[in-house]
């Protein structure tokens, strides 16, 4: 018996619980040579501002033990070019497309949403309120419940589509922020974005990133991300999408067990461009092996007695 892999986000049913994380999967098409994109639950495209963006000067990447620090700074084509050149191609592909929406101000988020509202072929918006690479010291709306509430509220009012708020791990109490987003009407929450980090070249005594700070991702952060996913999933009613360091089906299943309805695969895509499809396959194998009929039955089953 083949297990039922569908993941129910409430506003949307996914073929399976594996999405690709924003900024680690380009606009999706880059991965077509490696993978059948209809084998995964969906793709979250690289963060888009309303207009095109230059991004940060290089070096933009540093590898660390089990991790990757990036300070790309959201280089991108902007929503217009995306709608004209990328979306038509994505519409040919049988997978759910999430657009990760960015803004330097609340208004810019809304402008991007309004423009995208008029385009077809988008399943939902993922509001990137948590990018640490844009403002100084990693500042972003997701660091406080008030800016989170205000922005999500406006985004919901402007949007004709479901809105997922993507949370930052660089906070004292992520549950407080999650609840603010939920109260403001978010249809779902995704977490975590990267952890603010740095590295130093001891020869030159310079930061290894031109931007000084960047965001840490990869297996190094999985234990922190899993803890936060558990805390948030235990405290809100909207669906939670977990991510951070997922490299294998087993990693993804840990996220489901602590309460995530779906997961996103990020850094793993760089090492294995077929990672998301492989992970979905490994999750299926796990279910078959254990006789789990519906993968959704794993969600939130952590035993803590």
């Amino acid at each position: 018996m083949t297990p039922d892999l569908t993941a129910d986000l409430g506003f949307l049913k996914l073929r399976n619980p594996v999405l690709t994380a924003s900024g680690t999967f380009g606009y999706g098409l880059e991965f077509e040579p490696f993978m059948d994109l209809s084998k995964i639950g969906g793709i979250v495209v690289k963060g888009l501002y309303y207009g095109p963006r230059e991004g940060n000067p290089p070096p933009r990447l540093v590898e660390t033990t089990g991790g990757l620090i990036n300070a790309i700074g959201l280089q991108g084509v902007g929503v217009e070019k995306f709608a004209a050149e990328v979306l038509p191609k994505l519409r040919q592909i049988d997978t759910a497309v999430f657009v990760n929406v960015c803004g330097a101000s609340d208004d810019e988020y809304l402008k991007a949403i309004e423009f995208l509202n008029a385009q077809e072929g988008i399943a939902a918006y993922e509001l990137n309120i948590s990018c640490p690479n844009v403002k100084k010291n990693g500042l972003c709306p997701a660091l406080g419940p008030d800016p989170t509430y205000a922005l999500v509220k406006q985004a919901k009012a402007a949007s004709r589509r479901p809105v997922i708020a993507k949370l930052s791990p660089n906070v004292t109490d992520i549950v407080e922020i999650a609840k603010a987003a939920e109260e403001a009407g978010a249809d779902g929450l995704s977490l975590i974005n990267t952890l603010l980090a740095m590295a130093v070249d001891i020869e030159t005594r310079r930061p290894k990133l031109a931007n000084i700070f960047g965001g840490l991702s990869g297996p190094a952060i999985k234990p922190i991300a899993l803890r936060m996913t558990y805390q948030v999933a235990s405290a809100v009613r909207v669906p939670v999408i977990g991510m951070g360091g997922i490299m294998t089906g087993a990693d993804a299943i840990e996220y489901l067990i602590v309460g995530a309805r779906a997961v996103q695969v990020g850094t793993a895509n760089f090492i294995d461009p077929a990672a998301a499809a492989r992970i979905a396959g490994e999750m299926k194998d796990f279910c078959e092996h254990k006789g789990i009929a519906r993968i959704a039955d794993l969600v939130g089953t952590l035993k803590t007695d």
Partner: protein, 264 residues
């Protein structure tokens, strides 16, 4: 699908820090061209996390060669691999060195510094086949830093060397060799790969003499295939410059399009 999870090392040669592997891999060899590179997984554990970019050094029908220098922990792990072991490799990626067929009768000069010689062997062999007159300038720190010199000679290629310490060939930088070569006979085109300062200097020489030059840049790479936007350098457009991906738009660029970083 340019992914071979079990590329077999069928030959290994080592000279101190330098190593050469020959792979049996029809899948990756098909269509591989000079200037392109592979993304090599150097271990099957999570350390190091990322693949390492390594240029194509040579190609035969079903096999490819890489030639690399130990630069850190990743390449050190790679160097530990033995004949018969397999590697997980993606590629080839990137834009090739385009042979400038217009310039074929006058010599194409290939300038390589240190490990930067790697892609130039493959290119030299191809140019040679196309009937171009090829001259190779190969610079190293010292005599032991020129391990593939004989390989070029054996292939009948015209190669001249320099060493920083004068222990072999011309005493000085390879850019000095280039300057005397230009004085002798102006090349139709330059193909360049080496450390940043060497490439920058070559670009300056090429610009001053208005010699077209193709330069293969290096950069820290997250993925190698255009997905992470981590590998960018400043490349000139009509006016101003923009951050372009080395892995996808390069690694080979026209010298006069590269905007070199100003660092102390």
């Amino acid at each position: 699908m340019p992914h071979d999870p079990a590329v077999k090392i069928i030959k290994k040669q080592s000279w101190g820090d330098y190593h050469l592997f020959r792979f049996e891999t029809p899948a990756l060899a098909a269509g591989a061209e000079p200037g392109q590179f592979l993304m090599v997984r150097v271990s099957d554990t999570p350390f190091p996390l990322l693949r390492r970019p390594i240029s194509l050094h040579a190609k035969e029908k079903n096999s490819l060669e890489i030639f690399f220098q130990v630069a850190g922990q990743g390449t050190a792990l790679l160097a530990q691999k033995k004949e018969g072991e397999t590697l997980d490799i993606l590629g080839p990626f990137g834009k090739r060195f385009i042979p400038d067929t217009n310039a074929l009768p006058t010599p194409a000069v290939l300038v390589g510094g240190g490990r930067g010689i790697a892609p130039l062997y493959f290119l030299a062999m191809e140019l040679n086949k196309l009937g171009a007159r090829v001259k190779v300038l190969y610079g190293g720190k010292s005599r032991t830093d020129l391990p593939v010199r004989e390989k070029f000679e054996k292939a009948g290629l015209d190669i001249v060397c320099s060493t920083d310490d004068g222990s072999f060939g011309h005493h000085g930088f390879v850019t000095g060799l280039l300057e005397s070569e230009i004085r002798r006979q102006e090349p139709a085109i330059l193909y360049v790969c080496g450390p940043d300062p060497m490439m920058k200097k070559t670009a300056e020489i090429a610009a001053a003499r208005r010699i077209p030059a193709r330069i293969s840049l290096e950069s820290m790479m997250g993925c190698g295939f255009g997905a992470c936007w981590g590998c960018v350098k400043r490349i000139r457009r009509d006016e101003g410059g923009e951050w372009r991906k080395i892995c996808e738009d390069g690694p080979v660029f026209w010298a006069d399009k590269i905007i070199w970083e100003e660092k102390e």
